[in-house]
């Protein structure tokens, strides 16, 4: 060969490794025949079959063959790239072949396992798939992954229990944290609660220590009465502008961002007579009244569950409201913390001491707890504790109208049982038979259909507590647009994967936790926050991120600067440069290809998924053989 052809592209030398996967592929596809066929394809320098390509000797075989046959691109035809590509790519790199020179052909999930009864056709398809892989491999090019430095600082949006927990975890790892809270105080919704379920500590006693820790932490910079005004950049390098009440916006640089903006209770306008009588309130208003010690004298209280939820104003079940109602029902039944303001004489009348000595009370609680556990989780009949005349020890009748009680999990179920022991009545209603709240001569009553007696009944009450669902923050959409992260159908922030990536967003570098992701109680919010903090700390601790070389590339000579791509890019990864020509921010680009498929000039190429590669694959699939 003459010397001067060295500048010419060398002819590809493709190695094809076809896997039997034991009998998973070998049992349904004639692997030997496919291997033989592969060796006849253009630019294939070597083809072989292995019993298990992913096993130690299979991988060694790839490495040795690369050296021996001077291969420059590798195809493994086996299972699925979604699980095995990284393994084979590492093997290639270990033998000096760039990982982007590797092609996966799926012979198992997409062939042998779905065509188990027609070996001949499955074998033909396997040959086609290998031919497609070879066609693609011929056009592969090595790629360099960009390494981007990460600013080791985090931003947490929302200063409720979730945001504070996340901020503290990161701060304790040693990372500076900017905590942005739109309210003038930290604490979030919990601050307005009175008592909490499953603990005798008040909401304030529970949240205060957390607030104190955040206040004291030197790594946490608080931005109160503030909001995120703008966000530019991408994982590792966000320029965030924080706006405050009339103050000059503050510019901070952060590497990762956690969204913890919580949720708000639905205001049940137009439902169950809300606002038509001062005795018709929501469960959050009930908590406030308890805090202010302003509960009126009560004889009979009705809770109405799912007020506005599950098909009324919102379609979902808000999960926590049953447990919240159970909590409040128990507190009324026990007159916990003297919330009812029952006077001494009134209590004496009812034959009860108001102030039980704390120690005794605790002992009693523990006793009944043990009894409950012994009794196990078996539910008594609904409505069972409600024999006529029997009232809770506080003397107040408590009825919880519900569609079904969502006391999920062991602890909530125990609380549910406890409520029934305290003689709280649980009365079921059907979605087509909502309880009716009416005012007669200034007095409240609840009309309902008794499902067992099959008749309409009315119950006079002094107070109706509407258990309304948590709904998304009204301004969630603004933050979602600023951060380029999605909201789900119900307006809550949507995680990357409901099961496998519950606290990540699909966009790298942004994470989510707490009630802004969907109704959650405190314990759930705290575990999500710890999870989100740990996820957000990974890039911070590494100090860099490696961006996959799956990005768009703009050909400056073809781009006319029309701006279409800038508009369609869901990640703001394109911008116009000084010459009005489009340019890609590689670290922000996710390689989706929206821009490439939209550019009217064909000026955009997608690395590793080029038009040429994809068309070659399609053409090979359609060859008549």
């Amino acid at each position: 060969m003459p010397e001067n052809t060295s500048t010419e592209k060398e002819k590809p030398r493709i190695g094809v490794f076809i896997c039997h996967c034991g009998s998973n592929i070998g049992g349904f596809v004639d692997v030997k025949a496919v291997t033989e066929y592969a060796s006849t394809l253009p630019d294939v320098a070597y083809a072989t079959d292995n019993l298990y390509t992913c096993a130690e000797d299979g991988l060694n075989n790839i490495k040795e063959t690369i050296k021996e046959h001077n291969l420059d691109r590798i195809i493994v035809a086996s299972c699925t790239p979604r699980t095995h590509a990284p393994l084979f790519q590492r093997t290639c790199e270990a033998a000096g072949v760039n990982k982007y020179m590797f092609t996966f052909v799926n012979l198992r999930e997409h062939c042998s396992w779905v065509h188990m009864k027609e070996k001949e056709k499955a074998t033909q398809k396997a040959k086609d798939l290998v031919r497609m892989g070879v066609a693609r491999a011929r056009f592969l090019e090595p790629q360099e992954e960009t390494r981007v430095d990460v600013t080791p600082t985090a931003l947490v949006v929302g200063g409720g229990v979730s945001g504070m927990t996340a901020a503290l975890s990161l701060a304790n790892m040693g990372f500076p944290v900017h905590l942005v809270e739109k309210d003038k105080e930290l604490g979030g919704f919990v601050r307005s609660l009175h008592a909490l379920m499953m603990t005798t500590k008040s909401a304030n006693e529970t949240i205060r220590p957390l607030i104190d820790k955040v206040n004291a932490h030197k790594n946490i910079t608080q931005h109160l009465s503030s909001h995120v005004a703008s966000v530019e950049g991408f994982i590792g390098n966000y320029d965030v502008s924080i706006g405050g009440d009339g103050a000059e916006p503050k510019e901070v640089k952060v590497g990762t961002i956690i969204v913890a903006t919580g949720a708000v209770p639905l205001v049940p306008d137009g439902l169950f007579g809300y606002k038509e009588h001062p005795g018709i309130i929501t469960s959050s208003e009930f908590e406030e009244l308890c805090n202010k010690k302003e509960l009126p004298r009560l004889k009979s209280v009705a809770f109405i569950q799912c007020a506005g939820a599950r098909g009324q104003k919102v379609s979902y079940c808000s999960r926590i409201c049953c447990n919240v109602a159970i909590k409040s029902a128990i507190h009324i039944a026990e007159n916990r913390d003297n919330i009812l303001g029952v006077t001494e004489e009134k209590a004496a009348e009812a034959g009860e001491a108001v102030e039980e000595p704390a120690a005794e009370k605790k002992a009693e609680e523990e006793g009944s707890e043990r009894r409950r556990r012994r009794r196990g989780r078996g539910r008594q009949a609904e409505d069972g504790a409600g024999e006529e005349g029997a009232a809770p020890s506080s003397g107040v009748e408590v009825t919880v109208f519900n569609r079904d009680v969502m006391a999920y999990g062991v602890e909530n179920e125990l609380e549910f049982n406890k409520a029934r022991e305290k003689r709280v009545k649980f009365v079921r209603y059907g979605p087509d038979n909502l309880p009716k709240v009416s005012v007669k001569d200034g007095k409240l009553e609840v009309g309902y259909f008794h499902e067992t007696l099959k008749m309409e009944r009315t119950m006079p009450v002094d107070m109706v507590i509407l258990s309304t669902p948590l709904v998304a923050q009204p301004d969630a959409a603004t933050l979602s647009q600023l951060l380029k992260v999605p909201l789900g159908q119900d307006g809550f922030f949507q995680e990357a994967h409901v099961k496998l990536r519950p606290v990540d967003f699909a966009t790298d570098g942004v994470y989510v936790c707490g009630a802004c992701r969907g109704p959650a109680d405190i314990a759930e919010s705290v575990s999500q926050a710890a999870g989100a903090a740990s996820r957000a700390s990974i890039p911070l601790a590494n100090g860099f991120v490696q961006a996959e070389a799956l990005t768009s590339v703009v050909d400056e000579t073809k781009c006319t600067g029309c701006g279409t791509c800038v508009e369609v890019c869901p990640y703001s990864a394109l911008r116009k440069n000084d010459e009005g020509i489009s340019e890609v921010i590689a670290a922000a680009c996710k390689g989706c290809g929206c821009c490439g498929a939209t550019c009217p000039e064909g000026a955009i190429t997608m690395t590793h998924y080029t038009d040429q590669q994809l068309l070659a694959e399609a053409k090979a699939a359609l060859e008549e053989v």
């Binding site: 779905v114 033909q124 497609m132 992260v485 966009t507 290809g593 498929a597 997608m606 998924y609 399609a618």
Partner: protein
Amino acid sequence: MSSATPNAQSQEKAEGDDFVPKIIVFCCNWCSYAGADLAGVSRLQMPPHFRVIRVMCSARVDPEFVLRAIQKGADGVLVAGCHPADCHYIGGNYRTRRRIALLRMLLQQFGYDPDRLRLEWISAGEGEKFQKTMVDFTKTIEEIGASPMRGGD
């Protein structure tokens, strides 16, 4: 989707029963490719006439790919992406939907049965939907018959 009544295109139908459809399936990496994998893991059996090409997002499927595939003799092209609400790429698939609707019109204008092109949302958890789609689409294509472009290159 498929029309039961024979139309102009189906006159092109290949003779006899030896019509082996060639179907190209563009699957987005995050949902539909994973859905196809799940169909495999669940051993759901389906006709062996489709060939999957993996792309990152269904919005990557340039109209040119579809037209070129048809021109090269594909009897059917299926584009499978994530359900609109859970697109990995924030709504990339809304764009896909509009584009496919336009392309179907274009195919019709050029005398092809628009049902040769189909768009389906298949999530990572919908192995069964992948199987059903393949069974159904293959049937549709068998009814429409071989593409007039088959054999010519």
